[in-house]
Symmetry: C2
Subunit: 179 residues, 2 copies
DNA sequence: GGGCCGATGATATGATATAACACTTGAGCC
DNA sequence: GGCTCAAGTGTTATATCATATCATCGGCCC
């Protein structure tokens, strides 16, 4: 089992159940086109396929998951390095981030140009990742660093817990639970 | 080369050059003994050997680095899983942390019982890790999460930049540089 | 002693990521 | 068109990080 997978994949609830995810995807692809253009990068067929797989949910997925899904869905097989290269380009374009604590990747649905001041919240139950703005975070980190002569140029922050939907499910009466 | 190593290991300056690191080690070992005792864990010979290797510098080191150093220094070879198990125990005791962004581990020289409210600052030049207290961080993360119904139970934060010593070296006149 | 449990050993494998080099393609230039 | 160059991708191999599984050992309790 991939290290970032859940014991209960059925717990994932962001593939359309709680919102119209097609809207998320459309907005993301649109932003990706613009972002690639602005940065002089090319949103090639492979990169688009990889982005579509990552953006298919709000979860963080491993590079090898992407690879398997590409093979299963798009037909043509690709090598691990090709997936990693595509992901790297998507990261440069700012449409995909890496979840450092899980060695996995997730689509950025909340543009925040400049890599600073956002945090990822990861649900331990359903693996969903949401980004929250945290303008204070980077500033306070730089302040803390400055006290020690440390010049902070970039930072990451990741929080773990239980998301709203999973909390609601956890408090549901037992007879409403799925088997 | 291990991914977390530097291109110029000589840049490391925390192995005694800029402070009396024996003091750091003594304090850490002392704290480790107490912490293992309090938690009902045992600071076994293997765990102590692993801790000594990790604590030998303020850098983050990979599990396989530890393994190689154990083989080189202490004689007896150990399997990767044994190193990982020892590291896991040291983490539970709170004397070692994982640097998520590098898949590496570093000794905690700044006790902060409870895993909240600290951040790691990593020098891109010398790989030194310093921990800074950030009492606001976890609170603000929980506040941000609460707005979205997300209950944050733990979090990590890692900052990257250039430490004081390396900054000083960078501004030194060229004729003082090492070849 | 015998049962138990936490720690370690031993072996194998899984999971994540990159190196090196070849090939293709398209843009810019002449 | 033909040339060059750079970016992207393919192909193969390998490096790096981490865990599964079962055996064994040694202290501790009864
Ligand atoms: Zn969505
Ligand atoms: Zn984002
Ligand atoms: Zn020290
Ligand atoms: Zn610490």
């Amino acid at each position: 089992m991939r290290r970032h997978e859940l014991t209960n994949p059925a717990a994932a609830h962001t593939d359309g159940a709680s919102h119209d995810h097609a809207v998320c995807i459309d907005a993301l692809l649109d932003r990706a086109k613009h972002s690639f253009g602005e940065k002089g990068l090319k949103l090639t067929a492979l990169r688009l396929r990889v982005l579509e797989e990552i953006a298919a949910s709000h979860d963080a997925v491993g590079a090898y998951d992407v690879l398997e899904r590409l093979a299963a869905r798009s037909g043509g097989k690709v090598a691990p390095i090709s997936v990693y290269r595509a992901i790297e380009a998507l990261r440069e374009a700012g449409v995909v981030h890496r979840l450092e604590s899980r060695n996995a990747f997730f689509a950025c649905h909340a543009p925040h140009l400049g890599r600073h001041g956002h945090m990822a919240l990861v649900c331990d139950k359903c693996a969903e990742v949401v980004e929250v703005e945290a303008p204070d975070f980077h500033a306070s980190l730089q302040r803390a660093g400055r006290d020690r002569g440390f010049a902070v140029t970039s930072a990451i922050a990741e929080g773990f817990g239980v998301c709203e939907v999973c909390r609601a499910e956890a408090t549901k009466p037992a007879h409403e639970e799925q088997s």
